[in-house]
């Protein structure tokens, strides 16, 4: 799997330049961003102080 060699990277602008499903870098960045987002959400709910009633 060559993975994104046929796509001209100079054609991608803005958000799509770093997060896309065509280039290897874009795919890796998207996966990392998704993991980071869910990691932050889990961390937030773990560390959130429990409200006492």
């Amino acid at each position: 799997m060559a993975g994104g060699d046929s796509v001209d990277e100079s054609q991608l602008k803005g958000f799509s330049k770093y997060f896309n499903s065509m280039t290897n870098r874009g795919r890796a960045n998207t996966a990392k961003a998704t993991y980071a987002f869910f990691g932050v959400v889990i961390l937030y709910f773990t560390l959130k102080p429990k409200s006492k009633k």
Partner: protein, 225 residues
């Protein structure tokens, strides 16, 4: 006597509480041919023929970047599982691959080693594999989750697929044969015919399941490189 439906799979051969039935796992070793003379015999030629076919299949899947000799482990895995599956069809031979402890030991070890190697040595490559190329923008986060989950359940699916197939086949044969005790002769002939067909099916399933688990392991290995 069958206490419950699955008691036929319970290990029962023992001396001084040592479960000796697991020794059947090694019966397959007796089928590996000896090269005593320089001119190979038919057994040796058959073994080489199958090994070469498997080697060519796996070499294609592993790709040009694979280390030479990587196919050996998968060929050994194929023969191990095939012999255990097939010999279990014979009377009084214990089918060790119908137990999760054998299948899970194989699949979990392989999967864990692939994951550890892949994530430590080729981290960027592993992240790239989380999204298939050409996924629509909207679906990308979901694909990451789906691929992650499918990655995590791989050892389970590999093991359970093999175990369930072996159990299902043997259970079907046992259930049908248990109805034959109080059966009139004219129905018994039909039952025996059905049992023969089932045995042929189970022989095919034993080869196919060994092949499937090996091919999938090869694919998972090729993804890490």
């Amino acid at each position: 006597m069958m206490n419950n439906l699955f008691s036929i799979f319970d290990p029962s051969t023992n001396i001084f509480n040592l479960p000796l039935n697991w020794i059947s796992t090694f019966i397959g070793l007796m089928f590996i041919p000896y090269s005593f003379w320089f001119i190979p015999n038919r057994h040796f030629m058959l073994w080489n023929f199958i090994s070469n076919k498997l080697h060519n299949e796996f070499k294609t899947l592993l790709g040009p970047n694979s280390t030479s000799g990587s196919t050996f482990i998968f060929i050994s895995l194929f023969f191990f599982i095939f012999f255990n599956n097939f010999l279990g069809l014979f009377p009084y031979i214990f089918t060790s691959t119908s137990h999760l402890n054998i299948s899970l030991s194989l699949s979990l070890t392989l999967w864990l080693s692939f994951m550890l190697y892949g994530w430590i040595n080729n981290t960027q490559h592993m992240f790239i594999h989380m999204i298939p190329q050409g996924t629509p923008m909207v679906l990308m986060p979901f694909m990451v989750l789906i691929e992650t989950i499918s990655n995590i359940i791989r050892p389970g699916t590999l093991a359970v697929r093999l175990t369930a197939n072996m159990i299902a086949g043997h259970l079907l044969i046992t259930l049908l044969s248990s109805t034959g005790i109080n059966m009139p002769n004219y129905l018994l002939i039909i039952l025996i015919f059905i049992q023969i067909l089932l045995l042929i099916l189970e022989s095919a399933v034993s080869i196919i399941q060994a092949y499937v688990i090996t091919i999938l392991s090869t694919l998972y290995s090729s993804e890490t490189n």
